[in-house]
Symmetry: C2
Subunit: 138 residues, 2 copies
Amino acid sequence: MQADFRQLCADHGIAMTHQRQVLYEVMQGMEGHPSPEEVYALVKKKVPAVSLATVYKNIHLFVESGIFRKMSMHHGSVRVEMNSEDHHHMVCSKCKAITDIGEKELGLSPTQRRLSDGFLVERYSVDVIGLCAKCQKA
Amino acid sequence: MQADFRQLCADHGIAMTHQRQVLYEVMQGMEGHPSPEEVYALVKKKVPAVSLATVYKNIHLFVESGIFRKMSMHHGSVRVEMNSEDHHHMVCSKCKAITDIGEKELGLSPTQRRLSDGFLVERYSVDVIGLCAKCQKA
DNA sequence: TTATCGGACGATAATACTTATCATCTTTAA
DNA sequence: TTAAAGATGATAAGTATTATCGTCCGATAA
Ligand SMILES: [Mn+2]
Ligand SMILES: [Mn+2]
Ligand SMILES: [Zn+2]
Ligand SMILES: [Zn+2]
């Protein structure tokens, strides 16, 4: 409800606006790794006058304030990560399809917290490059 | 020498041209993950009339024919991977610096060859997200 | 509730990166 | 040597993203 989003904005130190709320709700309802254009298309249905620039600005704002996570690799454009579970990605080297794979299922659990040159680890992001089932047939 | 590059081209089924040879040699002498513009700047010193389009076209050609490997993630532009060793990357979440880290040093050796949905693994690419030593001080 | 002010909005220009086009030149293979 | 195929350089076009700016909205205090 609206009060929840108002609180979320307050928690993250950003102002609450109608466009932001619609954007947030639309994004919540999306799966996978939507592009700004895809988000824009859906927001426009509820707020026809919305500008693409506003969508870009607020996606960045959401990402910077930690509400959503960016996921730009392997796509030609910026994407937002809508899967909030700990997971990694399988990338088909032929058709470029990107599929989530859970941390457990991947069977990799890195533990080192500090690496060479004093690099402090926040998290690991694994891309498994290979062939999806569909592309193996062809 | 020239004969070597001629042979390399023959092996990969591409024509041997002066621009390609200079491009190849310049790239061989670069480290890290150079951008097309960086490569272009150096090639221009030896072949002043070279076009940026030619650099782009031949970088793609080299990547497609397996002479070099693409490494585009995390940068705003296409990059080429000049480190031919098996390695992964440490990405600083603050300054965006990208540093190579050897497979052994990372201490991760994934072995699964097949994952969910029948995905056939070719290789793993690990990005370690965190803070570089420099950014930890600030 | 209303006034005020800083931030957010929408329209659109500008930028950065990359690719397409095309006339000319070079390489390859016969 | 020659003809076909392919490569080059100049430049236009395309795509994604960001900057600019005048107007409007929303948070705060009177
Ligand atoms: Mn994902
Ligand atoms: Mn590298
Ligand atoms: Zn595929
Ligand atoms: Zn850093």
